[in-house]
């Protein structure tokens, strides 16, 4: 699974994992997100926060023609405004992927898989 970019010199293949790493890395730097979650929580063990090497389980990249679609499964911090945090993740991921890969992201879909209560 990879994304292809064609230019006058030939072809560039970027593996989905790379895009998932970039998108996941951008997301976990967003404020209010405590981790990436797995898409298949039951299969992969419940609401475990994914480590960096497993971001691909919580980030799905699809290419439809020229367009890139990214689905992200996240866990947020309790007591924050979740809608706002999801929006921030969308905008940061879109911007970062565009900046680093030069590809435009058509959609970033956020699935909030859990809320973590911090011991305040």
């Amino acid at each position: 699974m990879s994304i292809e970019i064609h230019n006058e010199f030939g072809q560039i293949d970027i593996s989905n994992d790379v895009i998932a790493q970039i998108a996941g890395g951008a997301a976990v730097e967003c404020y209010g997100i405590v981790g990436m979650a797995s898409k298949h929580q039951i299969r992969d063990g419940l609401t475990d926060i994914l480590r960096k090497e497993n971001f691909t389980k919580g980030v799905l990249v699809r290419q439809e023609g020229e367009d890139l679609h990214i689905d992200m499964y996240i866990i947020v911090s309790y007591g924050t405004k979740i809608s706002e945090i999801a929006y921030q993740v969308q905008s940061t991921v879109k911007y970062t992927v565009n900046k680093t890969l030069g590809m435009s992201v058509k959609s970033v879909n956020i699935f909030v898989q859990g809320v973590r209560v911090m011991n305040v």
């Binding site: 730097e29 967003c30 405590v34 007591g79 924050t80 911090m118």
Partner: protein, 547 residues
């Protein structure tokens, strides 16, 4: 002040919110991280306004309950990254003192510290050099000072001073800030809130923005412009900065009026002024006009003009970013091909959705056409090649596109113009194709071009560098003088029935020559209406369209 109650705290919040509101636009303009979209100030202001409203509703002598009101209002109204962080800071602050009716200096400082702890818990990878850093360092300072100081005002003063110093250090911690040459926008917003708190505690007026901030504004503005632009998209090419020292014998200076005056001259306009001096920054295509505008009020004590197109190609050359210029979407589109910017503009002005700049020497490929159609998001499309050598490519593009598409085989620009004018967005692609083909049947095309070698075509002797007159694609004359060739084309095509003649003159003909040709046609054919258009096309000094 030894202790702080709810009513006073509510006043502080109002003042903090007001100070942020007044400076929201400035905070917006600093915003380059994490996404340079220039909304940090707007978002923080909306969040803080919501917090201040709720504080007002819940204000009472009991500071714990008042602070709860602030936390709730901020949470409900949180907007953007910075707004969410602000809500967390005061959520922790409120939680720490929820049971207190009033607090002393130590409780006050500890509450700020608790806010910082809460805010840090909600982030996996805190980025330093942001609002979080400013909040943390300021709170730590307050806690330190409160150990041997029981005056709340002194503690707040120390907190604000540290926040200021911390903000000034943000460029050292976050590379993008240093690169752009600004301080962090969220941190600046938080400082405004804290400054408002302090002013309220001391009963003093709010501090004024300092003048050196214009440099930050300019830096952030440039960063945003670069980020989303291609060199060829720069509309206003000169970054112009002037400083005017007012003089009594010149016009009295009014900042707002001066802005109005400069606004039409370009974009990225920034003006700040005091009683003696105005500083101006603008991106303009006419730097001279900007200088002249400033001179009306006094003498120019500093002038700087940079050509941004030159700088930009250098900068972007190093940046591995492919930005895509914004293209309007057209569900039902007319895509056409033109040579020359003027012709392209002409075709756009009469209704072409998208013009591919190709032409005689660099004909667009099938792929170029497919890409253009996809780029504008067309669901139905009519393609006009305007050149017999591109018709094939256009036909193949139709094969490749999985949408309703048709080619109207126009061979010349005038035919293309007639076809575009016949386009009806209300009917199907097939119907349009039929009516557009009919529409250019009665359009006659004349061209004047140069011969590239000695030859003989259609029985006409041609020498290299002579001007060839072509009527409907057939050579009728070859002559050393351009105007003679043009007039010959005109006489062979224009007749008593001709209603409209359009003269499109190219790179190799002047406006004067085009006007001469138009005058010649009007003289000989008084019934025809003649229009002159600058087409800027290469190779063809003149293209004539006769209907």
């Amino acid at each position: 002040m030894k202790s702080l109650g709810g009513m006073k705290f509510a006043e502080m919040v109002q003042m903090g919110a007001h100070h942020l509101y007044q400076n929201a636009a400035y905070v917006d303009s600093l915003n380059v991280f994490p996404v340079p979209d220039g909304d940090t100030g707007t978002n923080m202001n909306l969040s803080m306004t919501s917090g201040a409203k709720e504080t007002e509703v819940q204000a009472q002598e009991h500071i714990g309950k008042t602070a709860q009101g602030l936390a709730k209002g901020l949470l409900m109204g949180a907007r953007g990254n910075s707004g969410v962080i602000l809500s967390q800071l005061f959520r922790g602050f409120g939680k720490a003192i929820e049971k207190e009716a009033e607090i002393d200096a130590i409780g006050f400082a500890d509450a700020f510290q608790a806010g910082v702890d809460t805010a840090y818990k909600a982030v996996m990878k805190p980025v330093e050099g942001t609002i979080l850093t400013v909040a943390r360092e300021a709170a730590a300072k307050a806690v330190e000072v409160a150990q041997d100081e029981d005056d709340i005002i002194v503690v707040m003063e120390a907190l604000v001073a540290e926040a200021k110093a911390s903000l000034a250090r943000t460029p050292e911690q976050l590379p993008v800030l240093k690169e752009v040459g600004v301080v962090d926008s969220g941190g600046q917003g938080l400082l405004f809130v804290y400054e408002g708190f302090l002013a309220s505690l001391k009963g003093e007026p709010l501090p004024q923005k300092n003048e050196s901030s214009l440099d930050d504004l300019i830096n952030a503005e440039h960063h945003r412009v670069q980020d989303f632009m291609n060199t060829e998209d720069i509309e206003f090419g000169y970054c112009t900065e002037i400083m005017v020292r007012f003089e009594s014998d010149k016009e009295p200076f009014d900042e707002e009026q001066f802005r109005q005056e400069l606004n039409p001259m370009g974009d990225s306009l920034l003006v700040i002024s005091d009683d003696e001096i105005a500083k101006v920054h603008i991106h303009s295509e006419t730097p001279g006009a900007v200088l002249a505008a400033g001179q009306k009020y006094g003498s120019l004590i500093k002038i700087k003009v940079d050509n941004m197109r030159e700088q930009h190609s250098a900068i972007v050359g190093e940046a591995p970013v492919a930005t895509v210029p914004k293209v309007e979407k057209h569900p039902y589109a007319v895509v056409t091909i033109a040579m020359g910017e003027g012709v392209a503009n002409l075709l756009r002005s009469i209704g072409a959705s998208y013009v591919i700049e190709g032409g005689q020497t660099m004909n667009p490929s099938t792929e170029d056409i497919v890409k253009a159609v996809k780029e504008i998001g067309a669901e139905r499309v009519v393609i006009l090649p305007n050149n017999k050598n591109i018709i094939m490519a256009a036909e193949q593009a139709v094969e490749l596109l999985d949408i309703e598409a048709a080619v109207v085989p126009t061979k010349t620009i005038p035919q293309g113009m007639a076809a575009i004018l016949a386009f009806n967005p209300e009917v199907s692609v097939e119907e349009n194709q039929a009516s557009m083909v009919d529409s250019f049947a009665h359009v006659k095309t004349g061209q004047v071009t140069f011969a590239v070698r000695d030859t003989s075509i259609d029985g006409v002797e041609i020498r290299k560098d002579e001007f060839m007159a072509l009527a409907e694609g057939k050579i009728i004359l070859s002559t050393p003088t351009m105007m003679e060739a043009a007039q010959t084309v005109a006489t062979s095509l224009v007749d008593e029935d001709a209603e409209i003649v359009t003269v499109i003159y190219g790179e190799d003909a002047t406006a004067d020559e085009a006007t001469q040709l138009a005058a010649f046609i009007e003289e000989n054919y008084p019934d025809a209406e003649v229009e002159v258009v600058e087409g800027k096309q290469a190779l063809y000094p003149f293209i004539l369209s006769v209907e």
